[in-house]
């Protein structure tokens, strides 16, 4: 469902959209971890290529945004330390505010430049995963075998090996990539991963991200126009501060409230009772 916009809170809505967009898309790259599906082939080379490309685009976006966010952070600090809040008519403060607004526009420009690439990459990944999910889990799997696959695949996954899936927030992007890298390394050593869960998670994220990208692209033009108007008055709006804060959180991972889907796994030992009635 797309967010609704009003004139009064369009920038804060944009901040939410951007935040969600980046959060939703950063999870993509290393799902390539699940290459070794024993039965269900959810990650063939084409899907992996799409995912890798999405990851690269997300990483480029991170790098570009990080630079401009650092700049915004410094300007915001200067503005605060100069006690500019409420200091109407002070020429120095107005100059800082205009610089801050200019940097903010720069950030919107970067987003505007990068979003089409991100949109294409996300849509490619979504489409290829959608096809694989439909074929492999929808048409070539029965509910019984799906259940067996989920149980079989999750049995040997350690909680610390599993990246936080849906619902993640505030995790530094580079750390996210490290998590995925570690996961790939683990898989190379033989441990399996719940590919069906990962594929489903990425697909649903991509689906939401695609909607958010479209909504964000629409909003950027209006947000930029509003800030251009603000430039005439040299003010820092609360919405601008919210955007900067939100993107900072994404880049630097200041809050980390992950809620993993799966609880610690449990491996059935040889001594456990297995009933002849068991499925």
């Amino acid at each position: 469902m797309l967010p609704r916009y009003s004139n009064s809170n369009r920038l804060s809505d944009l901040a939410c959209a951007l935040t969600l967009l980046v959060l939703l898309t950063v999870g993509a790259p290393d799902a390539s971890a699940g290459v070794s599906g024993p039965v269900v082939r959810l990650f063939p080379t084409t899907v992996l290529e799409d995912i890798r490309e999405t990851g690269q685009v997300a990483e480029e976006m991170e790098n570009n945004l990080q630079e401009v966010i650092n700049k915004l952070d410094m300007q915001q600090q200067l503005y605060t330390e100069s006690l500019c809040q409420g200091a109407d008519g002070d020429q120095g403060c107005e100059r800082i505010a205009k610089q801050l607004g200019s940097t903010y526009l720069e950030m919107l420009d970067i987003m505007s430049d990068r979003l089409p690439d991100m949109e294409r990459a996300v849509n490619n990944t979504r489409s290829s995963l959608e096809k694989r999910l439909r074929q492999e889990l929808g048409q070539r799997t029965t509910p019984t075998t799906l259940q067996n696959a989920l149980l079989g695949e999750t049995a040997s996954v350690k909680a610390e090996d599993r990246p936080a899936l849906r619902g993640r927030s505030g995790v530094r992007l580079s750390d996210r990539f490290k998590q995925y890298y570690n996961l790939v390394s683990t898989n190379r050593e033989g441990a399996s991963k719940s590919l069906a869960v990962v594929a489903s998670d990425i697909y649903l994220d991509m689906d939401e991200a695609a909607h958010l990208i479209a909504a964000t692209q629409e909003e950027i033009g209006r947000a930029a126009l509003m800030e251009q108007l603000n430039q005439s008055f040299g003010t820092i709006t609360p919405e601008m501060a919210a955007v900067v804060g939100g993107v900072k959180e994404i880049l630097f991972g200041e809050s980390m409230t992950e809620s993993p889907i799966a609880a610690p796994p449990y491996a059935i030992g040889e001594a456990d009772f297995v009933s002849p009635l068991a499925m």
């Binding site: 029965t142 019984t144 989920l150 998670d201 649903l204 449990y266 009635l277």
Partner: protein, 177 residues
Amino acid sequence: MIRILTSVLVVLSLAACTTTQPDHCAVNLRGNLDSAMTTAESKLASGCEYHFNSYFNSLLTIAEANPDKDNKMLFSDHLMRVNEMGVISRRQAEGLYNRYFNVKFVSLQGDYNTCSQTCPVRTQVMSDMKAELHDKELGLMRASADAASFYRADTLLKETDLVLEATCRACTAGQVQ
């Protein structure tokens, strides 16, 4: 005086005549689970087949009061014996055992593909699985002291929810194209 005594005797005699035979199937299962199962099985073998469900629930209550890892094995053996007695079918025995004592969900089964069988009734399937998880809590966690298996079933339910959401969305998208 004699009349009064006679009347009392007559009333008592009539009351004795109207007293019904105690229900021989009604039994208060208690104590040791193993012996309670033996009692239930002897009752089932002597014309009380229709009381199977109440006996089974009573046995679960006893197990809940005396949690033990071996309880699931006792229930498995009990259900197999009751099946061999012809009280319940093999499918019923499997259904009951798996519903209460297995990580897997009997609510998520089928021989047709997921797109056609599960997706059209996904909400109902998930609802049934949630209800089944309550029974697994009783069978695995409270009766068998097997928290790890119960948590695994809980995880399976959550993962199934996620995977079905994605798969069914993909199935629907395929139909639209």
